[in-house]
Assembly symmetry: C2
Homo-oligomer: 145 residues x 2
DNA sequence: TTATGTAGGTTGCATATACAACTATAGTGG
DNA sequence: CCACTATAGTTGTATATGCAACCTACATAA
């Protein structure tokens, strides 16, 4: 097949290209809204996991978010340096568990409205049907993992 | 509202968290398939744009893929160093345009089957309905941008 | 013609992401 | 008790991503 035709079929079908583009667009919108609070969207996602499931081991967050352990190791370090998370050794066994600090809780409360603002912008862009479709797909993938 | 409740509502509704997770999962699958060819998925996306629209200015690729110009500046440099792209000055005016090289064309041809393999894995995961839903959403967002 | 603006690009800085290789620790089979 | 394996985590290396600040070349208004 000729090069141009190959490229066209790739561009037409490629789920990955579309997902990455959506990821960049939406992440920028969340990050814009969160910037005044000095926290990134990806960090909010980690904080959310810790709030809901903490104390929790990094490796477990990795499973929840499909994040590689080395990525998490570095991201968590930054958040500890910012004073949002603290870690405690696991009672018996290897590893440690993460908790949110008071400072982290204040940040989370303060930033939540900005998150909501970005979220409603995005829902407007997507429409209710589009938002539902994405949630459905994501939840289905997470099950099959 | 209490912290846990806030986090729960964020986790339940968050489109961005879902999109980022899908982006990581799918990108890993494409990258796994492409690794033997020494090219990354994000690079294939840029190559595809150049094949379809080249000669093309970086800033124009940025508009197509929603990529910041500084990101593109660096990504393109790596691809030039790899000998896949070459740039020529614009006849009149500032900036330059990118073309794919012979080596780039060979790479693209060689890597396309790997791309197709990952693509079909992902479509199986998503189901035809899920894949269509994502394409529909992405195309709609791109229009409204 | 000069001041101003605009568009394309690069660079400094920071974070995000993953793979590979490594360390440390716990559990398990001989 | 020892060798082996599996799990959690860290570190080296590389790419991806974006913002802010800057540079340059062109366009345009005063």
């Amino acid at each position: 097949m000729d090069l141009n035709r190959t490229a066209k079929s790739i561009a037409d079908d490629c789920i990955g290209y579309r997902i990455r583009m959506l990821s960049r667009i939406f992440s920028r919108m969340y990050d814009d809204a969160l910037r005044p609070h000095g926290v990134r969207f990806s960090q909010m996602n980690i904080l959310t996991a810790v709030v809901l499931k903490g104390p929790i081991q990094p490796v477990e967050i990795g499973r929840l978010l499909s994040l590689e352990k080395s990525t998490l190791s570095r991201n968590v370090r930054i958040m500890e340096e910012n004073g949002w998370l603290k870690s405690e050794p696991v009672s018996s066994g290897v590893g440690h568990r993460l908790r949110i600090t008071k400072k982290g809780e204040r940040l989370y409360h303060a930033a939540a409205p900005a998150w909501r603002h970005a979220q409603s912008q995005i829902e407007k862009l997507l429409g209710a049907e589009g938002a539902r479709a994405i949630s459905r797909v994501a939840d289905q993938i997470q099950e099959n993992e």
